[in-house]
């Protein structure tokens, strides 16, 4: 029987996926020069 996924695990998973999605989106914006160079 499939073990139910705990709500915390689901939240953790979504958090990871949102973080990866945002990072990839930023990487593409940088790659295609759609945002100005980011300075520190």
């Amino acid at each position: 029987m499939q073990e139910p996924i705990a709500p915390t695990a689901r939240r953790g998973l979504s958090l990871d996926i949102y973080a990866v999605a945002l990072s990839l989106a930023l990487a593409l914006l940088v790659r295609f020069n759609l945002i100005p160079p980011v300075t520190w």
Partner: protein, 361 residues
């Protein structure tokens, strides 16, 4: 990692409302982090202009200290809480973006060494934690949670293991409080120890990544030493995080075999569920960087974006650390955790010295 995770939007809650509720806390994170950066730069300008010799105190420390002072004096009002809790999200985004600063070959080399050392450290620390847990008369499942928390990924590992081994809420909250308290101490103790032992950036980064529990604290402890050490600490900690599923599965099988936890059905699915997916993002960005997808100035921009994300994380580490709450835990879990942490720190330091000598870091 952390006690609280930012909740994704639910069906009943509009995404717009959710973003609005995050704004005050996000602005507070940005203000505290930027204040830390401003103080570092102001001191550097002043001491340079006046020819004063003064050690550079990194923005990381200022951001954490400002956050700690706010959280433990006036406190963080409820309206800021949701936004402040996103610091773990910024940590993960920062780690994924940091992948651009690694060639895949470096990850395989240093990650492979980390994996080997982590396996040694885990085996030794589990045996040791169970020994002292028994000596202090702790409940076996509380000892299991402390062992998982101190050898893998701090609070995230405890949260992942709790349902799998059938531990109760009280055990989980004791273990989380102990791991958070020890993480806060490690944050300041590790850089001091590293400097007094004259460790190289690579050796120190590897040590911090292998021994400091929570990812946010390990990242901060590395960055407090140097930029290069921070990079290595993140890589070593990410390797450690990737093992979370295997360790939780081993514990779940152990407690299930004693009839004190639910049986694990599909083991591959279990491992996949527990695997931290941001590690895949980190590897993907590193692969793209290795294949020459980004130009040099673009790689610099990505590295700076990663720094900005970590700036928010470090502010959050301070703002989420309540010394009062940490003091409320029982002394026994803290004592077992502290003795275990010192043991792990010594074992990993020995392993890092050995790796430096024989595996050429």
């Amino acid at each position: 990692m952390a006690t609280t995770v930012a909740n994704p939007p639910t069906q009943g809650e509009g995404i717009g409302m959710r973003i609005v509720s995050l704004l005050p806390g996000l602005l507070l994170l940005a203000a505290v982090g930027y204040a830390g950066k401003f103080i570092e730069q102001s001191i550097a300008h002043y001491t340079k202009a006046n020819h004063i010799v003064f050690p550079n105190i990194e923005y990381v420390l200022w951001a954490i200290v400002i956050g700690l002072v706010i959280a433990n004096t006036v406190g963080v009002p409820r309206v800021f809480e949701a936004g402040v809790a996103t610091y773990e999200f910024w940590l993960k985004a920062g780690i994924v973006l940091l992948g651009s600063r690694f060639l895949l070959g470096d990850i395989l080399h240093l990650g492979g060494i980390s994996l080997l050392l982590v396996a040694f450290a885990i085996a030794l620390s589990f045996a040791f934690m169970h020994l002292i847990g028994r000596a202090f008369g702790l409940r076996p499942k509380l000892t299991s949670l402390l062992a998982i928390g101190s050898s893998i990924c701090g609070v995230s590992a405890i949260i992942a293991a709790k349902p799998a081994i059938g531990a109760d809420d009280e055990d989980a909250s004791y273990a989380i409080a102990a791991i958070l308290a020890l993480g806060a101490i490690s944050l300041f103790a590790f850089p001091l120890l590293g400097h007094s032992l004259h460790l190289s950036d690579k050796a120190y980064g590897l040590w911090a990544g292998l021994a400091v529990d929570n990812t946010a604290e390990a990242t901060a402890a590395g960055a407090l030493y140097s930029d290069a050490a921070g990079k290595v600490a993140v890589l070593a900690k990410t390797t450690r995080n990737a093992l979370i599923g295997f360790v939780v599965l081993a514990y779940a099988l152990y407690w299930a075999s004693r009839g004190e936890a639910k049986a694990v059905g599909n083991k591959a699915a279990f491992l996949w569920r527990k695997f931290p997916k941001f590690v895949l993002g980190f590897l993907l960005i590193s692969l793209l960087a290795t294949l020459g997808f980004f130009t040099k100035p673009q790689l610099a921009s990505l590295a700076n974006l990663s720094r900005w994300a970590f700036l928010l994380t470090f502010a959050g580490v301070g703002l989420r650390t309540s010394l009062r709450e940490l003091g409320k835990q029982g002394w026994k879990p803290f004592a077992v955790g502290a003795i275990g942490e010192v043991f792990i720190a010594l074992v990993t330091l020995g392993l890092v010295y050995g790796a430096n000598r024989w595996l050429h870091l």
